[in-house]
């Protein structure tokens, strides 16, 4: 009997403890790894007197899988643009109406009517950037603004290339190089793209997300990468230059959103509003080296960011291409191309 009572007491204690852990005065953020400025967290904690817990993921799919199971305990997630409509459709996000919040006026008008959340009823901009590639201009001194360097590389770059280990980014880049539509299900065009990729593969050394490390350790001289990563790599290897391929390159935006079953709804809303203040958005930019989409944040940015060639898209370069999520049939086709490429 005593044993039972002790157990009951322990259980009760555990429940109380767990209760306090997720109670008031907390905010649980689930974000990409190495993507949240610790100073930002400290500032929010001080201003609102809450304890912030940070947890990280490395792909939208992993975040989605965890959140779909329900009662994840998280309040804030940071999905990429194409993941937002999926989450809205599956009823995972709370309609917190950032467009009626105090700081909404700071959001750059360019980022208000976005395809993933027209009018911003669910999300606020976190950071945005582009995906192209960066190349060592000492190794290759020709014109770098063409995707040919990845798919039909010159002699000096052959075998010195890292591609992202990312199905949509690689296949979309190949579609752009050939001038075909994204989210393509035209079989002739896909066959052509498959052939292009299969031939290009022999010139690639690796396919990996760890692009900064690959570049700075001289494992490769060209890597498909994101602009912020390219900037961080350049700081250690100054001869690197980020390319703006004339065939086009990808644009993306990650967005903060509140989960429908957020245990700390009020804190989460405060955080959304907090993130739209220019000085706070700038903290994230300074940390991750991407632009924030909040007007006026430039004033608070570190100097290196303001004139960084990775951030400022030059005149004459194409507009970044924000690709919408492809239909399942197209994803299935992409899967087969991808598996064939990597067999």
């Amino acid at each position: 009997m005593t044993q039972k009572r002790t157990m009951a007491a322990t259980l009760a204690a555990a429940v109380t403890l767990a209760g306090t852990a997720w109670g008031e005065g907390e905010l649980n953020i689930y974000n990409w790894g190495n993507y949240t400025n610790p100073e930002l967290i400290e500032k929010f904690e001080k201003e609102f007197d809450v304890k912030v817990n940070l947890d990280d993921y490395d792909s939208n799919e992993i975040m989605l899988a965890k959140v779909r199971e329900g009662s994840s305990g998280y309040d804030i997630v940071v999905p990429s643009g194409y993941t937002v409509p999926i989450m809205i459709e599956q009823d995972l996000l709370a309609e917190v109406k950032p467009n009626e919040m105090e700081n909404f006026g700071n959001v750059d008008p360019r980022w208000v009517d976005v395809y993933w959340d027209p009018g911003r009823n669910y999300t606020v901009p976190w950071l945005w950037g582009t995906t192209a590639f960066t190349v060592d201009t000492e190794v290759y001194d020709g014109d770098i603004n063409t995707l040919a360097l990845m798919f039909e590389p010159p002699q000096e770059l052959s075998g010195r290339i890292n591609m992202l280990n990312d199905m949509p980014e690689v296949i979309n880049a190949a579609l752009r190089y050939r001038g075909y539509e994204r989210c393509n299900s035209n079989t002739d065009e896909l066959r052509d793209v498959t052939e292009l990729l299969m031939n290009a593969k022999q010139h690639w050394r690796t396919m990996d997300y760890a692009t900064i490390e690959k570049l700075t350790s001289n494992d490769v001289d060209l890597s498909q990468t994101w602009n912020g990563a390219a900037m961080r790599a350049r700081e250690q290897r100054p001869t690197l230059q980020y390319a703006y391929p004339k065939e086009g390159f990808a644009g993306w935006m990650d967005n903060a959103a509140v989960l429908k079953d957020a245990p700390n709804m009020e804190n989460a809303k405060s955080f959304m509003n907090f993130m739209m203040a220019p000085e706070n958005a700038a903290l994230n930019s300074n940390f991750a080296r991407y632009a924030s989409g909040i007007s006026g944040s430039e004033e608070f940015m570190i100097e290196e960011l303001l004139d960084a060639p990775e951030i400022i898209i030059p005149e004459g370069a194409p507009e970044p291409d924000f690709v919408e999520p492809c239909a399942q049939e197209v994803t299935d086709l992409y899967n087969r191309i991808w598996t064939k490429l990597k067999q």
Binding site: N165, D166, M167, P168, S217, T339
Partner: protein, 316 residues
């Protein structure tokens, strides 16, 4: 039936009592077994059942499953649906990935055996009080996380790593030899990671080896090779079998090592399965691939153990 003789009545009572004792014993046996059964059921059979069920469902959009029966996952493994006319044709894509993984795992097993056998023999031939030290040294790397050990290998064999830099410094080569991001790198990584799994069981059987038998063989004019083939190897057989199994299975499912050291250009089984639950959004196929892998391993193990067991008996 009314005039039951005392004899049969006693018999019946006895039988009843026996039945009761046996019943009690059976109940007790089940009670004692229940923790083990619970664990096997909860952590073994239950997840496996989920995997099996999921492999026969349809993929949900954006991950997950739809509750519609489908054998597509298994069909997809061997056949490719033509994008033009929807006809099925044989496709070796996934078989190639499996074959590649099995080849790499086999190579790693053989490599570990070649390195592990002399090591284990060396330790077994040391005086008893020194053996523990040697075993300790073998298991020492295991105290470090696999990811970190793999990164350490990466730093050693990369173009600007210790091996290449020292070879260039000595003037033996003037260009770095590209070991990293090749199959060789994967072999090195797998062998390094799983070598202790080979050495320990080998040592366990070699330790029991009666070295007088080796001496006797020499006395009978056996050459060194003959001693190895006819005396040492047969006696180490249980260790060889156990070691090979312990290296082969984790090497086959290896995920981090091929990804980091192989450069991620080619899928291994582990990566293929992981991809289905991530970017490919096809959980049923991932579940099916995992089950196919399990069946392949189970069948090959059964064949291997039976075959090697028989041979061992024949010699003994």
């Amino acid at each position: 039936m009314t005039d039951v003789t005392p004899q049969t009545a006693t018999d019946a009572r006895l039988a009843e009592a026996r039945r009761q004792t046996m019943g009690a014993a059976r109940r007790r046996r089940w009670q004692l077994l229940s923790p083990a059964l619970l664990i096997i059921g909860l952590f073994g059979l239950f997840p496996l059942t989920i995997t099996l069920v999921y492999s026969f469902l349809s993929p949900g959009s954006y991950g997950g499953v739809r509750w519609e029966f489908s054998t597509d996952a298994y069909v997809q493994f061997l056949f490719d649906r033509d994008i033009f006319d929807d006809t099925l044709s044989f496709s070796a894509t996934y078989l190639n990935i499996f074959a590649r993984s099995i080849g790499l795992a086999l190579g790693a097993t053989i490599g570990s055996l070649i390195i592990g056998f002399p090591t284990a023999y060396f330790i077994a031939s040391k005086p008893a009080n020194q053996r523990n030290l040697w075993l300790f040294l073998i298991t020492l790397p295991f105290w470090v996380n696999l990811l970190i050990r793999t990164y350490a290998i990466l730093l050693i064999i990369r173009d600007e790593g210790i091996i290449n830099l020292s070879l260039i410094w000595t003037g033996l080569i003037d260009q770095p030899i590209g070991i990293l991001y090749t199959d060789t790198a994967i072999f090195i990584g797998l062998i390094y990671s799983y070598l202790p799994f080979m050495v320990l069981p080998l040592y366990a059987s070699l330790e029991k080896l009666d070295f007088r038998l080796v001496e006797a063989a020499y006395d009978l004019y056996a050459s060194r090779l003959q001693v190895l083939r006819h005396v040492i190897v047969p006696m180490a057989k249980p260790g060889i079998v156990a070691g090979c199994i312990l290296v082969f299975i984790p090497a086959l499912g290896a995920y981090i090592t091929p990804d980091l050291l192989g450069g991620g250009k080619q899928l291994m089984i582990g990566n293929l399965i992981a991809l289905q639950f991530g970017g490919s959004r096809n959980w049923p196929f991932g579940a099916a691939a995992a089950l196919i892998l399990m069946v392949v391993v189970m069948v090959s193990l059964t064949v291997y153990v039976r075959y090697s067991g028989k041979e061992g008996n024949g010699r003994g």
